[in-house]
């Protein structure tokens, strides 16, 4: 553990205890990292107008730090860095903060955005997420690319249920695995539904995926996987 890690742990510990002085510490020490992440998210959302406004970005960075502050008690030092761990919640706050870029019907039509064309030919998450930058697509796509089991899991999730249930299932599982104390709330904000609906959708989709994994030997490696282990 280096000095930076020590300082991060101390900040997170202070914030977990509800000490707002450490919110300032976190912002002062790790603000550049959060700024980079927020700018990346804003860019991904196509809001170049916001990207050029330093005051707006400052406000979003503070929002992001507050997201981490409010969740600090759920963070584990041996897990992902806080900005990675809370990435979906940060993205959700950023999206809520800047609103959606208005896109005219003609513009969408010109760029060929009909939903049916958006998913990749292989039906994996990547194609879908490239269309909707508000989702934590980069995290999931990265995972699918490097981990064969994640790829298999994606295939299983994509094999049953509707597209929306598949996305909610992925996001809920990722948030839960990252230690989000309220994954249903985070995912509900992303999809504009009630947290209770998210839990119900996850349970229904999970039941379908478990049935598939148990009945289809192609998915045998997933039988011991945390999300869907019997």
């Amino acid at each position: 553990m280096d000095t930076d890690d020590d300082e991060l742990c101390r900040c997170m510990e202070g914030m977990a205890g509800g000490d707002a002085a450490f919110l300032f510490t976190f912002h002062e020490r790790f603000g550049p990292k959060i700024t980079w992440i927020v700018r990346d998210m804003v860019r991904g959302m196509g809001r170049l107008d916001i990207l050029r406004d330093d005051d707006e970005i400052d406000g979003l960075v503070i929002d992001a730090c507050e997201v981490i502050y409010s969740r600090a008690s759920g963070w584990r030092a041996d897990g992902a860095r806080p900005w990675k761990w809370a990435r979906a919640a940060i993205r959700s706050r950023v999206a809520a903060g800047i609103g959606h870029r208005p896109v005219s019907f003609e513009e969408a039509y010109d760029h060929g955005l009909p939903v049916g064309d958006a998913a990749g030919a292989d039906g994996e998450v990547s194609g879908l997420l490239a269309r909707d930058a508000d989702l934590t697509g980069d995290d999931i796509v990265d995972l699918i690319q490097v981990d064969p089991r994640a790829r298999l899991l994606d295939r299983a999730i994509r094999s049953v249920g509707c597209e929306r249930s598949q996305q909610i299932c992925w996001q809920y599982g990722v948030q839960k695995a990252l230690g989000d104390p309220s994954p249903a709330v985070t995912v509900a904000r992303m999809f504009g539904v009630e947290p209770g609906n998210v839990r119900q959708i996850f349970v229904r989709q999970k039941a379908k995926v478990v049935a598939l994994i148990e009945s289809d030997d192609r998915f045998e490696p997933l039988r011991q996987f945390g999300w869907f282990a019997a």
Partner: protein, 116 residues
């Protein structure tokens, strides 16, 4: 390390003041400034109190927004001088604007806002 933008420390301080205001603090801007001083050093309350030589209770009262801007312990002010991007003039104006507006006789705060 700083994020390099002059003013972002001020913006963060204003956000802390907003939190204190929502929590019902009488002097939210002063409270936020006190929090920022300790946050800049990354210390727990007792460590900070030991370092600057004031009572923990005084640190707590300042940070909870129970002390007006003008009556914050001067030791806190010494720390603030080192913080890049913290505009104390802007914050003093904000503190003045957040006073309750009552006369010294009518003000319910202790000490009265007009003394700040």
């Amino acid at each position: 390390m700083s994020s390099g933008r002059r003013g972002d420390a001020t913006a963060m301080c204003e956000r802390l003041a907003l939190r204190l205001e929502r929590a019902g603090a009488a002097h939210p801007v002063a409270g936020a400034v006190a929090l920022v001083a300790r946050g800049h050093l990354g210390m727990a309350r007792h460590e900070f109190a030991d370092l600057v030589g004031i009572e923990v209770a005084d640190v707590g009262a300042s940070e909870d927004g129970r002390v007006p801007f003008g009556r914050l312990p001067r030791e806190i002010g010494w720390v603030l001088d080192d913080i890049e991007g913290l505009d104390l003039l802007v914050l003093a104006d904000a503190a003045r604007a957040s006073r309750c507006g009552a006369s010294a006789a009518a003000c319910q705060h202790d000490p009265p806002c007009s003394d700040a």
